[in-house]
């Protein structure tokens, strides 16, 4: 579909997930030293980053943000772009909003990877249930987690809200198996990586997005983008390093 005003893939410059996935697929841990240092200067992230940049530089992806595409579904239907990375919550939208004559022409697929399907990892999104160490109701909270993790409860959630089940057992359900667009997400769920579990992650992710946008819009060369990103993220993690040092100093 590539041609004038037609692109192979739409990677909005205001989303952090695609460049982060590119880094993860290349084997980058994103942060090192127990989440106290940025790892964006490492060769792994650099590989993913260069590959990602080439999608823009070769004209496969438009250098624009999601704000500039007024209606994602219309543009997809018009053929402005052919691929888009998103989650299962979009399935219903695509079914409802794409014209009827296009309904047989679209489908979903798990992400490919740089070294074969096994490296095609992705993010699982909001994937963690947390039980506070200081909680006064640990037993009750654990009971709730057990309940939410039951395959039949997860299936019920899927039927009610479209949220995908996390348990392999639940994926044996015939209704889930029958939908090929769902199956792609089921397969992807076997290859997911969690983002670093540090409170600064959200801020770091936005920084990645901002710096990648600079490179995409050619406001700065890729080298300086990655070193700026590392410097900024290292500065954000200063408190975390201090907390680490304090804990190791035995004050706690």
């Amino acid at each position: 579909m590539v041609g004038k005003d037609k692109f192979a893939i739409f990677l909005p410059t205001n989303e952090w997930n695609p460049p982060v996935i590119a880094g993860l697929q290349a084997g980058s841990p994103l942060l090192s030293d127990d989440g106290t240092r940025a790892a964006f200067r490492d060769s792994a992230f650099r590989r993913g980053f260069d590959w990602y940049m080439n999608l823009y530089f070769e004209g496969l992806a438009p250098s624009i943000s999601g704000n500039e595409v007024a209606n994602l579904y219309q543009e997809f239907a018009r053929g402005y772009f052919s691929m888009y990375i998103s989650g299962p919550w979009q399935l219903g939208e695509f079914r409802n909003r794409l014209p009827a004559e296009l309904q047989d022409d679209w489908g979903t697929a798990p992400l490919p990877g740089p070294t074969g399907p096994a490296s095609g990892v992705s993010l699982a999104g909001g994937s963690s249930l947390v039980l506070y160490r200081a909680s006064k109701h640990k037993a009750e909270a654990w009971k709730l987690i057990e309940f939410l993790a039951r395959p039949d409860v997860q299936l019920e959630f899927w039927r009610l809200s479209g949220d995908l089940p996390g348990r392999v057992e639940a994926w044996r359900d015939p209704a889930l198996q029958a939908d090929p667009n769902m199956r792609a997400f089921g397969e992807q769920l076997t290859r997911v990586v969690a983002t670093p579990k540090v409170p600064e992650w959200e801020q770091i992710a936005i920084r990645v997005q901002e710096q990648v946008e600079r490179a995409v819009r050619r406001a700065a060369p890729p080298d300086s983008v990655l070193s700026d990103l590392s410097t900024q993220v290292d500065r954000m993690l200063e408190k975390r390093r201090w907390l680490h040092a304090r804990r190791q100093g035995g004050t706690r």
Partner: protein, 299 residues
């Protein structure tokens, strides 16, 4: 009853009536401002919310970081753009609208006043959605019109060079109605005999405007000028809903930076330092403006 005791009773009654307002201002203004000031010397952040023993006293470190942060200077530059370009444009638009609506030959004055005031009371988010469609690079009405004049297509919100002008225009359109009402009130308070006297002396429409209307609007100008400037310094909603500060952080304002640092990343210490730096800048700008306009009125 002696004079002194009645005065004392009056005074205590006055304090009684004032107390609710004073308590409210104290609790919801002075205490938070003081707390914010203290906080700006600490590294109060997301860790501190969980365990207060991780708060460190930083001295002027936050302030040092603010003034050495390129992000802050970019935000300040964008904010000054709003003040220097958006402010005067907004005042000119409001004054022109007020003159038009107030003109003797104008008809349906109430209708036009309402129409011009409508953007002020319209929800910002609804306005933003409509403007995003108007400014859309491919299907927007603005670029359709520009194409007729062989201009463009301009990617209004996606090009870092055009994003600021686009948002300034939106902000002016959204807010000029409010100042227009104040100008109308100012125009209506100018006595007609001044114009009659000027006419007898042979002043034309232009001379009347320059020598009667403008000087008589002096106090209104001072009020509108300062309020507009303060409003532009605090600009937040327009860029926030239109571009979220992008593209390439070209539309981030100081208040938006403060919001991001404080309420998105919970770096409260840093965010309060930004707030106090902005306060000092606004205070200085307001004093300069009062001095300039005050002198202008005396001469």
């Amino acid at each position: 009853m002696s004079n002194a005791t009645s005065e004392r009773r009056q005074a205590s009654a006055a304090w009684g009536f004032l107390a609710p307002a004073l308590v409210l201002i104290g609790v919801f203004f002075f205490v938070p401002v003081l707390a914010g000031f203290v906080m700006s010397f600490t590294d109060f952040d997301i860790y501190a919310i969980g365990s207060p023993d991780t708060i460190r006293f930083m001295g002027f470190e936050n302030y040092r970081q603010v003034v050495t942060d390129p992000e802050f200077w970019r935000a300040l530059r964008n904010t000054l753009y709003f003040v220097v370009v958006g402010g005067p444009l907004s005042v000119i638009a409001s004054l022109s609208a007020a003159l038009l609506v107030n003109a003797k030959v104008a008809r349906f004055k109430g209708l036009f006043r309402t129409i011009y005031f409508l953007p002020v009371v319209t929800t910002m988010v609804a306005v933003a959605i409509v403007f995003r469609y108007l400014l859309h690079p491919k299907y927007g009405l603005v670029n359709r019109c520009a194409r007729v004049l062989h201009i463009g297509p301009i990617d209004w919100l996606g090009n870092p060079h055009w994003s600021m002008p686009a948002i300034v225009l939106l902000a002016v359109w959204k807010n000029f109605g409010y100042n227009m009402l104040i100008f109308i009130a100012g125009l209506q308070s100018i006595p007609d005999d001044l114009y009659e006297a000027a006419q007898l002396d042979g002043a034309g429409a232009r001379a009347q405007f320059v020598h009667v209307t403008l000087p008589s609007l002096g106090p209104t100008f001072l009020f509108v000028g300062i309020m507009t400037m303060i409003g532009q310094f605090q600009i937040f909603a327009e860029p926030y809903v239109m571009t979220q500060g992008g593209p390439l952080r070209s539309t981030v304002s100081v208040v938006m930076l403060m919001y991001e640092q404080g309420f998105r990343w919970w770096r409260m210490g840093y965010a309060t330092a930004i707030a106090f730096v902005l306060f000092v800048i606004m205070l200085i700008a307001t004093l300069i403006q009062m001095r300039l306009q005050g002198e202008g009125r005396k001469s």
